[in-house]
Symmetry: C2
Subunit: 450 residues, 2 copies
């Protein structure tokens, strides 16, 4: 059961594909889950991969395609005709079908939809194509089991029997009125335990958590986590039941969010993997390195104004790194904490003033401790007391400024609708560094002249 | 339905609590989900919060307690007697009960278990207390519905009826043999649609994904995501079914992992929230600021060796920031990409050599571009060509070294069993900075003497 992919195994499969030994391949893959075959597939070249997938039954092949990374899939499907694609999309869950079609050029998309054998699927897809990817409507699937509130258990089971094939996992039956308005839910457990003639009316749970189609994906994730939901029904503004969002899609969304947040913090554009090409990696990384470089050039230009001071007290140069790194570290810490609180959106937030006061108190304690230690170090190694005062004053100011910027920037970005995660990234760090050097040389210039 | 907590509402509830108006409170909270009441509860002082929760029925009150943040809960429960705690733990899911008890001092833990009315629950808890928190056994709950393979559908429904009250959500019925060995699964959908006399033998799904109790939590999360599972059965080494892990616990685990990764990157120890006390925030942040400070002091000490060079060419000081920031940025980018690939643990990894070669190629391109631009800038502002060569050579070397360190460090930490996420943190960044300054002043010292 515990599936491990080895180099030898991949080579063995490649050989079988080379020999076009269809029976051996099918026998080999029979016991595997589609998710395991996906792992194998991404290790193969395009041609053998295509051969492999066309040897499988339509259902597992479709699951593998649904499972592929969107970029890999887009590349891979270039080698398929619209007829071939439509054969797989025909058995997709409608949400996955829309994701796949959105990656395709419009012409292919329309051809595939036109070719779909299952006309209900085609209608589902056309419905779903209206929605943006990052709202509830874009996450939902049309497949669900619903029961009219006037039915009894027997009629519901009949409906379940008819729907069962299309609906992958039934978490719950949704109860609607004659107009399709969502009224509540009915768990399978209750259906199993109830008498056949019991009216749904008297069985179903009226408290139901739902979202409207236009709600952002973050809110969907937050709702499903807060209320521990397996599936969340989606309604239009009139309350009509349109679809459901299942927890597995939300898990994927949460994981993606987390990883793109980390990447943004590290100064990487988009998603990069260790086995991406050299060009892809360079493209993702160079822009932020250039931002950092521009900051460095500005810092150099700026410091060169103070060359006179540096000639007088060359020891000043030695403290450039500590000023930069302290400002950077404090800024990132502060903005990360603020970012997390923005992401969690707790019910009732402290006011901005309260936050700033607390941040400043923390900054004060940290700043005083660091300044004192560095002051002691300066005296210990026999630096002039004037320089020691300059360095420690600058450090304290930098800690304060970086705390302020780290608090304000993500809140401001969030307000104006920019992803606040960039506030932990290289751009803001670079800005903080520059401010730090400004403070340091400014203070030095004034104090050393005295 | 869309629950929003306002300051006014909290004050309203506080007043009702003040007046000890039990009926009004119950009426007020009746329509709310436990998760909503949790939001309200954390806004209250300890005494009113305790009053509020004791006015609720045991079941919702228990759900609220299970929902609380562990630290808040630990503080809160100090104001409860063991009898009071046991009343709630009695109706907890066994996995949540164990989490709560693990936060308590041993004496309280034993008292609560002794006082539990539901003796099966007590046995479940004693079973689960054996397992570490971060393995499959520590995530599982004992509540599940199992059916003997020799039963028919009717007998299974009977069992379901008896278990239904204890088992929160039934995703699937687990099929076992006479010795309790896990054989497969049976979905509720199949039970609903099957004839009453059908043998389970002929209905159930033999392919089942499971974990052993000792498997790490990361592996559990990975399995459930890869195979899109709602629940994962847990077995002992003999294959006997012991419990199940539900997807909501894994979602919590994934979210915690992601946020602690981000925090580690930002140089913050543990979990800090914006509304933690000043002291908690300082404690979480100061250690890493001190690490950064030590690095800064070392850098200062180090640069002061080169005061002679600096006196000769004060413009050298101006490029200290760009050396530091470029090294830092490249290091973090590289280690983040490596970290991500370690976290994803794809089936078949590239060899270390292949990774290093690719990393170096990317470093070479990025390094060359940055060095050339900075070289141009130096000539443009009229710096000496010698200095320009020193700076650009140092930059190129720093990019290479930081790429190397960023690749090697997380892989090494991972090998020796330390959480590699610290490799994106302040410690490694500081080390990279120091190496960068070493390279810069070393090259400068040699080249400028020529």
């Amino acid at each position: 059961m515990n599936f491990e992919l080895t180099k030898e195994y991949v080579e063995h499969i490649e050989e079988l594909i080379e020999l076009k030994n269809r029976d051996a391949i099918r026998a080999e893959l029979e016991d595997w889950y589609p998710a395991d075959i996906t792992q194998l597939l991404i290790e193969l070249e395009t041609e053998p991969a295509k051969y492999l997938i066309t040897q499988l039954d339509t259902q597992p092949a479709a699951e593998i395609l649904a499972d592929l990374d969107p970029n890999d899939r887009k590349e891979f499907l270039k080698h398929f005709t619209s007829e071939e694609i439509s054969r797989y999309v025909n058995v997709f869950d409608s949400d996955d079908a829309v994701d796949l079609l959105n990656e395709q050029p419009i012409r292919i998309r329309e051809e595939v939809i036109a070719l779909l054998e299952d006309r209900e699927q085609a209608r589902f897809i056309l419905d779903l194509l209206h929605y943006d990817e990052d709202v509830a409507g874009g996450l939902m699937q049309k497949e669900l089991v619903k029961a009219n509130v006037n039915w009894n258990v027997n009629e519901t089971i009949e409906e379940l029997r008819q729907q069962a094939e299309d609906v992958g996992r039934v978490y719950t039956v949704y109860v609607v009125d004659d107009y399709g308005k969502l009224l509540g839910t009915l768990s399978l457990k209750k259906i199993v335990l109830a008498h056949k003639n019991t009216k749904i009316e008297s069985l179903y749970e009226k408290d139901v958590i739902y979202v409207e189609t236009y709600r952002p994906a973050e809110e969907v994730a937050e709702l499903m986590q807060r209320y521990d939901l397996d599936a969340l029904p989606v309604v239009n503004v009139q309350g009509k039941l349109l679809g459901r969002i299942t927890i597995d899609d939300v898990v994927d969304f949460i994981t993606e969010q987390a990883s793109s947040g980390t990447m943004a913090m590290a100064g990487i554009t988009g998603e990069v993997e260790v086995d991406d090409t050299i060009w892809e990696q360079t493209k993702a990384r160079l822009p932020w390195l250039l931002v950092g470089m521009m900051g460095g050039i500005l810092a150099a230009k700026f410091i060169s104004f103070f060359e006179g001071d540096l000639k007088m007290v060359p020891a000043m140069a030695a403290f450039i790194p500590i000023i930069g790194s302290t400002g950077g570290n404090v800024g990132i810490q502060t903005s990360s904490i603020i970012l997390q609180s923005l992401a969690e959106k707790s019910g009732m937030d402290d006011s901005l003033t309260q936050r700033l006061i607390r941040m400043f108190a923390v900054a004060f304690i940290n700043g005083i401790i660091i300044s004192c230690i560095v002051f002691g170090f300066n005296l210990l190694i026999g630096n002039e007391i004037k320089l020691a005062i300059v360095v420690s004053t600058a450090l304290l100011s930098v800690v304060f400024l970086a705390s302020f910027m780290g608090t304000i920037t993500p809140i401001f970005l969030n307000k104006v609708g920019i992803n606040p995660a960039v506030a932990s990234g290289p751009f803001i760090t670079t800005a903080n560094d520059l401010i730090g050097y400004g403070v340091y040389f400014g203070i030095a210039h004034v104090l050393l002249q005295l």
